[in-house]
């Protein structure tokens, strides 16, 4: 069927500001939006720029705004939209546009690095694995679904107002290490994000949770961090964990 795509364009070499360009193409109902963009690029306009790689929602390359909502272009099919055959495609908000649908993700990854995204252990040399209860492991499971696509952080209204706020994606990664029973740096991790730029920046607006293409309950995870920070302020600090 015939579809129309109105796509945000910006070429730093010629454009002063962004503009929209319209394309019409034949698409199947079961085509992914990414397939449609590829068709435009292969058949009509090879200059259209966007990131993509895995094409099945696992690498996190192609978060963008489709008909006003943040989505992964490879995870949404033409038939998933109720807007007839008309699509408007725009780059992620919050980040600056490099070209067309490609945004600068460096600030996003800088925040990611800031939360010390690695396991810190007591340095016990073991021949075998650290034992970990399956239930403990299950606590961090939702956060393991994260593909660093930046949808949540781009959607978060707090982030737009306060550029210093770490944002949901980085905090979710902090959650993943804070609640990993093998990690020995819980206290210092909590201290690090106990601030308005840290976990208290989150006002539970839930926009992150709504847009997450992996269905991660981001707001809930951040809530668990907040509770732990409060507990720590009230009671004696928790035993360092093995």
């Amino acid at each position: 069927m015939k579809c129309s795509f109105t796509v945000y364009r910006f070429d730093p070499a010629v454009d002063k500001k962004g503009r929209y360009q319209e394309y019409t193409l034949e698409a199947e109902r079961t085509d992914k939006i990414l397939d449609c963009l590829n068709k435009i690029r292969w058949e009509q306009d090879p200059t259209l720029a966007y990131r993509f790689s895995c094409a099945h929602g696992i690498c996190g390359s192609d978060a963008m705004v489709i008909n006003g909502r943040i989505e992964l272009a490879c995870q949404k099919l033409v038939k998933d939209f109720k807007t007839g055959n008309n699509f408007v495609i725009e780059p992620l908000p919050l980040f600056s546009v490099i070209k067309d649908l490609i945004v600068d993700m460096n600030p996003f990854f800088a925040k990611h690095r800031h939360i010390r995204p690695y396991l810190i252990t007591a340095g016990k040399a073991l021949a075998e694995e650290f034992l970990q209860d399956a239930a403990q492991q299950a606590v961090i499971e939702p956060a393991l679904r994260c593909i660093l696509c930046a949808s949540c952080t781009a959607a978060c209204p707090i982030n737009r107002a306060n550029g210093e706020y770490l944002g949901p994606a980085a905090l979710l990664r902090a959650f993943r290490y804070i609640f990993d029973s093998r990690d020995a740096a819980t206290d210092s991790r909590l201290v690090q994000i106990d601030s308005p730029e840290g976990v208290w920046g989150c006002k539970s607006m839930r926009w992150c949770t709504d847009v997450c293409p992996k269905g991660i309950p981001v707001t809930k995870c951040l809530g668990q961090i907040k509770r732990l920070v409060k507990q720590r302020a009230q009671g004696p600090s928790r035993e360092p964990r093995p």
């Binding site: 895995c54 099945h56 499971e141």
Partner: protein, 575 residues
């Protein structure tokens, strides 16, 4: 721009990052990747990683070794396979200590599940050997290794695509890379280069591989004088989502899923009475196509059903969550209630750049190293997978041999002086890019790519026959002749995909040719290479590795090298 490092690693998948973690900190290391590091296709690996930990039931590295040898249809080098399987438990514990969140058993140990071709007691019954993190095993290992590399101060050059190797006096001394965001060329001088550039599934129309899996490393090394080994062995995974090729992991069958034909028959019982749906991939893919040819495809069409409905919602949501969501999104099938339509999909290259067990690229039968050049992961051929890779052994391969390559490179750079600098190493690439950008031809890379993919799918996939292969070679030659006529429409320098598509296509055409020539030469059926005109394995003539060296004038030149057999003599391969 010029950059100086001790070691340059090309590729930020598991193989490249495992090497980086090994040597980062002590050595100045740069990792270059054409996609942002965490977008590497290792992140798509779902099912698991094999190691005889024995956490769920008795298991031994020796059994793992036997299964891998047998799975390889006796073409894998047994000395290397022994290293792989003996080192596996250490590699897993190390990952766990680095933070990889594996699923757990009741006692809190790393949980394990069954996978195709992995058995106890040398084939007696399936064994639980695959360590996993739900169906996100690759994702969590990739994240962990990336985060560890950042911590170690490894320099990342994301969205840098390498175009060529810098070679002087036969010694490798760096790479030339194209920066996607600016279109600028960068030269990276180093004492050693590791290629960890992954697979090349995009040569085929239907594949589980990413758009970035275009075999760049293999093709660039080949043109620089490194032979490619066993390229005719291309793995087709039995369960790609119909028409799309998106993978439904073997874990689905490891957890008890079964394949059904149009009669509702569990047909694998007929072909592999002992391990049934957990037979190795080459075998199941062939059986599926046999069923389809016999008219037993679903509704007479070219697909079958993967049925998980009897596993129940709890198992599906907890252990197979990711693939359940793929089935819902892309096939419109809810695996709790509906069978999933599947067909074989191009998945893995058993062949690659010939290396030894320390990641050194080797140039001849005698194993003479290519000074300064290393390869690991899917782009390399050690060979541990021989004619058919077992599930869960690819991730293991990246970790074991990525680490070994790291160790060996560090030893090498300490023992060897810097290579002589070549003047303007980027000039050749600059000229080539200019030529492409200014070409006035009438071809589009998209068209040539589509014809290549269709030819390879049609004539060089699961079943092969001489006439078809000859036609395929002629077609690829025709496409190679048309290739210089490609005109780049995008004249810009910022994320010029049009240009990169053309460059990648050139690489894939080179590789397609070698795959077909290997398939033509090998007049037997072994592992994933199945010749309908030569249905039997022929150990007298073909218990050898096929290698091709580049020759600009005469075309790829073949030679062979013996298989290393240490403990397990070739037997008939039955399951």
């Amino acid at each position: 721009m010029k950059h100086e490092y001790d070691i340059v690693i090309v590729g930020a998948g598991l193989a490249g990052l495992r090497a980086a973690v090994e040597i980062g900190g002590d050595t100045r290391v740069a990792v270059l990747s054409k996609v942002f590091a965490t977008r590497s296709h290792s992140g798509a690996a779902q099912g698991g990683i094999g190691a005889a930990l024995g956490n769920e039931e008795e298991d031994h590295p020796e059994w793992h070794m036997f299964d891998t040898v047998k799975g390889s249809d006796y073409l894998g080098d047994q000395d290397a396979i022994e290293i792989l399987t003996e080192d596996a438990p250490r590699a897993i514990y190390e990952l766990e200590h680095l933070g990889v969140p594996f699923n757990r058993t009741r006692e809190g140990k790393i949980a394990q599940r069954a996978f195709g071709g992995h058995t106890r007691q040398f084939g007696a019954a399936p064994v639980k050997r695959a360590c996993y993190a739900a169906t996100r095993t690759g994702r969590v290992i990739l994240d962990t290794l990336w985060e560890q590399s950042l911590q170690k101060g490894v320099a990342f050059y994301d969205e840098y695509q390498i175009l060529s190797l810098i070679i002087r006096d036969g010694q490798c001394g760096g790479v030339v890379a194209y920066e996607l965001a600016t279109g600028k060329l960068h030269t990276f001088h180093s004492q050693a280069v590791l290629f960890a550039t992954g697979g090349a599934g995009k040569i085929y129309k239907t594949t589980s591989n990413a758009f970035a899996s275009t075999g760049d490393g293999m093709a660039i090394a080949f043109r620089a004088g490194a032979p490619l080994e066993d390229m005719e062995f291309v793995q087709f995974h039995p369960t790609g989502i119909y028409k799309l090729g998106i993978l439904i992991s073997e874990a689905a069958r490891g957890e008890g899923g079964i394949l059904l034909n149009n009669d509702g028959e569990r047909f694998m019982e007929r072909y592999a009475p002992v391990i049934k749906d957990l037979a190795p991939r080459d075998m199941i893919s062939r059986c599926m196509l046999e069923e389809i040819r016999a008219g037993r495809g679903i509704r007479g069409q070219d697909y079958l059903h993967l049925d998980l409905t009897h596993l129940g919602q709890a198992v599906i949501e907890s252990k197979l969550a990711e693939i359940a969501s793929f089935a819902r999104t892309y096939a419109g099938a809810d695996p709790v209630k509906d069978p999933i339509p599947v067909q074989p999909t191009c998945h893995y290259m058993m062949g690659g750049i010939a290396t030894d067990a320390d990641g050194r690229v080797v140039v001849d039968r005698a194993g003479t190293p290519f000074p300064g050049l290393y390869a690991a992961g899917e782009c390399a051929c050690v060979s541990v997978h021989g004619a058919n890779r077992l599930g869960c052994n690819a991730l293991l391969d990246t970790l074991v041999f990525g680490r070994r390559a790291g160790i060996e490179m560090q030893r090498y750079i300490r023992a060897t002086g810097s290579p002589h600098r070549s003047a303007e190493p980027e000039k050749k690439d600059a000229d080539r890019l200019r030529g492409l950008m200014e070409s006035k031809g009438r071809e589009r890379s998209g068209r040539i790519r589509a014809e290549m993919q269709a030819t390879m799918m049609d004539k060089v996939s699961v079943f092969r026959v001489q006439d078809g292969l000859r036609a395929a070679v002629a077609k690829i030659k025709e496409l190679q002749e048309r290739y210089p006529q490609i005109a780049i429409q995008d004249k810009g320098h910022c994320f010029n995909r049009d240009l990169l598509d053309a460059i990648e296509l050139g690489h894939m055409l080179d590789l397609a040719e070698v795959i077909i020539l290997g398939a033509l030469y090998r007049e037997e059926s072994r592992g994933a290479h199945s010749r309908e005109d030569f249905p039997a394995r022929d150990d007298t003539r073909f218990l050898v590795h096929t290698l091709f060296g580049y020759d600009a004038i005469r075309g790829p030149q073949i030679f062979t090298k013996p298989v290393k057999i240490t403990r397990f003599q070739p037997q008939e391969r039955k399951y």
